[in-house]
Amino acid sequence: MGIRDRTGPAVTLATLSAVLTFACARGLCQPVAQPSLDPLTVTEIAGGVFVHEGALALMTRANAGAIANVGFVVGEDAVAVIDAGGSTQEGRRLLAAIRRVTAKPIRYVVNTHAHPDHVFGNAALARDGVVFVGHRNLPRALAARGQFYLDRFRRLMGEELIGDVKIILPTRLVDGEDTLDLGGRSLRLRAWPAAHTDADLTVFDQSSATLFAGDLVFVKHVPVLDGSIKGWLGVIDELARMPAARVVPGHGPVGPWPDALAPERRYLQRLAQDVRGLIDRGTTLRAATESAGASESERWDLFQEYNARNATAAFSELEWD
């Protein structure tokens, strides 16, 4: 997930021009309306279940925001898309990948939460007959955060990639559980209490026992806390009981269930335990961000980018206990 940019001079002029050259070399300088975008690379991880694994990176101009896992499930009558990616361009490439696999209509686009790497591709999939689906809190989260995300990522990724991004609110809201029918195939949706964010939704394909966990599950990519650490640890326990064979995490490779959950649980428990100990000893927020979770640093990609921020969020929450 890419809500964060390092606030330092991560993109110098030199690297920026390098990125531009690279982008142009790949044909990305063309107008975004260009019809023949490369389809996203997708893998059929189970019958009718396709996943594109995002890059383990922050959203940048070079990767066009394609850092989250996105996927789709094909039923007898229709297709459901689960997350649309981090730019309209990625959404178009996802659409092209779907059209290579099937001509069936897209009936649903499910957004697992409000972060830009999961929703910025929505506009590419919006057309008559497509229903956007999300947690009952998703409209509120998109309203509160959408403009901030657009402004921030326009600066980081450029107008060419962000100019045609539209914040699209879900019209089918999930409070508790819901089922999407694709014809001979049902997707069970579940809205969770505040955990990774306060609008987390999972999608469970009953036919293949595949769980699309959104950012409730991170693999390899350090978990990112933007909701409640106590809530997340509680949700993990419940999530682990879902009868899935495999999980599509929000970031990182598809893995066996519930084993793929173990590293994230360990990280969040460690972070919570460290932060609680530091609070009990009267440590300041600043000192806490320098040490909480440090023992996990070698185990995760993007640890330096997110851990201190996670510690800040955990501290701000747990100091009220």
Binding site: R6, R140, F148, D226
Partner: protein, 275 residues
Amino acid sequence: MATTAVRWLCVGFMAVSTANSPAFAASPEPVDPWPDLVRDVFDRRPLVEGTGVVAIEMPDRAEDAAVVPVTLWLRAPEADGRTVRAVTLVIDQNPAPVAAKFQLGAGAGAAMISTRVRVDSYTNVHAVAELSDGTLHVAETFIKASGGCSAPAAKNADEAKANLGQMRLRQFAQRHIPPDGLREVQIMIRHPNNSGLQMDQITRLYTPAFFVRDLRIWQADQLVLKVDAGISISENPTVRFTYRPDGARTLRAEAVDSDGHDFTGEWPVEAGAME
């Protein structure tokens, strides 16, 4: 005093919102607002540097621009009887640069005041301490951050709404903060502290500014600390500080937000923390 402080906040807001207009934001070298701030906030009074009366501790780079810890260290000149009367925290490039003015209760002797702020862009940060003889002493630092003022509040919006106005006092075992005999406490208030710069994507309207603007902490009838706060203070405002205990059995806090809501709390002084 409160009226004066509010005027300062507004003047600061207007002065620098001009400098932060899109035309200026696009330029690589933003205008330095500090000379105007010295004029508007400090009436062009001389600011003395390098006296060691005040120091700022802040990270070089914000981990979360909406929650940046800042600590002010205060030390009145030794042996001449002058004391620190107030300290003003200014985040130069923020839309409302005057983050807070802390007024120290007579005899309460705060030597450390720590809070969390929003930082909107790369900026100088100034702390200006006023001694009891009226002289102003300044310290400066620089921080890299972006977007702190427009960042959306409330990671957990339902909980934030349910708990608005909750107050808590934490009392710390003594650390070795000179001078001796001071105690350290932290006052915390659950409040969204909306900056007024957070836009609703759907309505295209800015969420109105809604923040704790006045906080006072007392021991019995003695004022320990008064804070005139602006929109640069982070969600769930907190102030951690040291003070000289006068034997009172309780600490009391009174807060008022920008909509006029009052929040109060009173806590027994913990014996353990008094050792």
